[in-house]
């Protein structure tokens, strides 16, 4: 309605003629976002089930190591800050994308990727330490559920990193075309969602069991 009014208002001076074209593609993007959100919600259910398993098995130590013996909270704090920093840098990448700054978007994506890689590196190092100390996933029900839950999250972050690198290549090739913007927005939701899951992990898996 406003579009036709605006066109009519400026019709007298051809130099100032404005055409407003409602982008049909926008609808497709909208449903992509909703569909991706529904995927994230179903992913949320997977994590909920794994959290429930950890809640049930988390105290079945089979006379093995307890969270108090194993967890080094300073590592977890460092891990958490890496993921939180990667969340804000991805936000900056999205802001740069809205400003149509290809270079700045790529730079923030790179920074996000480095923080994400640091997170995965620290997590793998922690896992290897546990396994080296004989506290592998086969040691007790507690450790099985711990490795499944935290490992699934780590796998999500690793796949997110592959996705991020793929998108950096695509943005490098084609620039910020609508398709790439849509993909970047999906990854944005995925990345922030993983940070939300991590809040549950560091509280429920690391901090609270250490208290007991």
């Amino acid at each position: 309605m406003e579009a036709s009014n605006a066109a009519a208002a400026t019709a007298t001076s051809p130099e100032e003629l404005h055409f407003y074209v409602a982008d049909e593609h926008g609808h497709a993007e909208g449903s992509t976002m909703l569909g991706f959100w529904l995927y994230l919600m179903s992913d949320c259910l997977i994590f909920a089930v794994l959290f429930a398993c950890y809640g049930v098995y988390g105290r079945q130590f089979a006379a093995g190591p307890t969270p108090h013996d194993l967890f080094d909270l300073s590592t977890v704090a460092l891990n958490t800050s890496m993921l939180l920093l990667s969340s804000i840098t991805y936000g900056f990448a999205m802001l740069a994308m809205e400003d149509d700054k290809v270079g700045r978007t790529q730079l923030w994506l790179l920074v996000t990727g480095l923080f994400g890689a640091a997170f995965v590196f620290l997590e793998i190092r922690e896992f290897l330490e546990f396994i080296h100390d004989g506290a592998g996933p086969q040691r007790s029900a507690f450790l099985s559920s711990f490795f499944t839950l935290v490992g699934t999250h780590g796998l999500h972050v690793s796949l997110g990193l592959i996705w991020l690198v793929t998108l950096m290549v695509q943005v490098g090739q084609r620039g910020l075309v609508p398709e790439n913007r849509r993909r970047l927005m999906c990854l944005s939701m995925f990345w922030h969602f993983l940070d939300v899951v991590w809040i549950g992990v560091f509280s429920f898996v690391y901090l609270i069991p250490v208290l007991r």
């Binding site: 976002m33 969340s87 804000i88 802001l95």
Partner: protein
């Protein structure tokens, strides 16, 4: 887009939803840092002695931080996609609460009811 003085502007219908501002991201980040640092500080320095109060506090901080992330990073609101994202979120939260609370509740009672104590085992033999 401009050609011969004619302006063609493409209106993205989805553009109003799902975008944040620098201020929003920074607010979310600062709140998240505080909401992360406090529970870590509480647990690492053994600030309180009662583990149940501490666990409650840690869970409380986690819930608030999840809301902060949802609002400032995931840009959740009741209007985006005509309210469908919010509806999907509410549905998921209900399922998550049922799965978590139900599992813990049932398994806790199974443990107390089914686990044979040493006394029971001696009686059985």
């Amino acid at each position: 887009m401009t050609s011969d003085g004619v302006h063609v502007e493409v209106l993205h219908s989805g553009d109003q939803a799902g975008h944040g501002s620098r201020k929003g991201y920074l607010t979310g980040f600062i709140l998240s840092v505080i909401l992360t640092a406090v529970p870590f500080w509480l647990v690492m320095n053994h600030v309180l002695t009662d583990p149940r109060v501490m666990a409650g506090l840690v869970m409380g901080f986690a819930l608030v931080q999840i809301v902060v992330h949802m609002v400032y990073f995931l840009h959740m609101n009741t209007k985006s996609e005509g309210g469908w994202t919010m509806l999907a979120l509410i549905f998921t939260v209900v399922l998550v609460v049922i799965a978590l609370a139900g599992s813990l509740w049932i398994m806790y009672h199974l443990n107390t009811n089914m686990m044979p104590t040493m006394q029971n085992m001696r009686d059985m033999s």
